[in-house]
Symmetry: C2
Subunit: 195 residues, 2 copies
DNA sequence: AGATGTACTGTACATTTGTCCAGCTTTCGT
DNA sequence: ACGAAAGCTGGACAAATGTACAGTACATCT
């Protein structure tokens, strides 16, 4: 047997633990992740988390990879469908996307955000985070480009940047009803002002 | 003596501990704050932190208040000076402001950001965070308004929102040279596209 | 059926953390 | 000079946490 990895097999147990990790992160933040808390949330024995993952850091790292894969896949799917028929529908599509991610029980948007911040903090996870940022923004830019630009001198990159910025700003200081109460109006005003 | 507060007097020791807390937060995040780590950073005996602050939560809470007061005062000062002479100088002024906050040894921008996120997470600190957001955005909007709008149909609020969003987006995934390498170009492109 | 190896888990243990308190030092009134 | 009160600190302690390991259950093969 190679010495590199202990060779833990993939199993549904393992997947369940990873998803429990995301739920814990969403509820109590990244620092709320402990082996015992995750095990309790996943409904597995306490030692199971240390069995399937070499360390707590490895657990968080895999959770980040999982979130990256899922969220980029989701955005890509939205970008590849029928393009939005104009700026107004673009906002609708974006809000739909955000709502989907917020409601996702397995990788809620709050957990994504926490993990992204954590990735920015840890040297080791930086490359992952930057890859995510690149892919995510590319997909988002494609979605924006598909909608057509409200003004020709505007590039899709700029608009996508502005929209992502609005979303991040809302996520940074989370409020109840941040989507319909704050995010959507802000995006509407932005697009209106540019039309 | 009233029973409400233990009545710890203000002292330079106390202030030093608070500032050490901000430095720890900037370097290791809010969850890196421990009594011992803060005491070491401040160069005071281990028990000093528990002496001057009732609990770790109280320490973080006061650090947040300190950051709020300082950063709003700083932005206000910038907004009240000579208004920027047009959109291009507006970007310069904003970048100056960010650079000042990043370089601030007593309340680095990273610490501000961490604290704001923490405030959003803890029910108890929410009001503080919302007050901060309101005051901060008002000052920023005033600064933007003073510069004059690149297009009349644009409101200062929208532009300020967009700029703050760009900043938050860059802070979320910190990189080396994020100011001149990413933030300034993004702001320039935004203003250009609107001109 | 028995042996054997893999998958898994209960538990112990060292470390770190927040908190408390008994006592030391300094200050200040007399 | 002396005593008392306030300011301060070393050290102790319980709780929580990451990790390692010895043992158990279970499957697979002969």
């Amino acid at each position: 047997m190679p010495v590199t990895t202990p060779g833990k097999r993939s199993s549904s147990r393992r997947a369940g633990i990873l998803e429990a990790t995301l739920r814990v992160i969403a509820g109590r933040g990244v620092d709320g992740v402990t082996h015992r808390a995750v095990a309790l949330e996943a409904g597995v024995p306490a030692a199971a988390t240390t069995y399937y993952f070499d360390s707590k850091e490895a657990l968080v790292e895999e959770a980040l990879e999982l979130v990256i894969d899922r969220s980029t896949a989701l955005v890509r799917r939205h970008a590849e469908g029928a393009p939005p028929a104009g700026p107004a529908e673009l906002v609708d599509r974006l809000v739909d996307l955000v709502e989907l991610q917020v409601a996702d029980r397995e990788a809620p948007l709050a957990a994504q955000y926490e993990l992204m911040l954590e990735a920015g903090r840890r040297q080791r996870l930086r490359p992952l985070a930057e890859r995510w940022e690149t892919t995510y923004m590319a997909a988002l830019t494609a979605l924006v480009a598909g909608a057509g630009l409200p003004r020709p001198q505007l590039s899709a990159e700029i608009l996508a940047d502005a929209m992502e910025g609005a979303l991040l700003g809302q996520l940074a200081l989370p409020r109840d009803d941040f989507i319909d109460g704050h995010l959507r109006p802000q995006l509407d005003r932005l697009v209106d002002a540019l039309a």
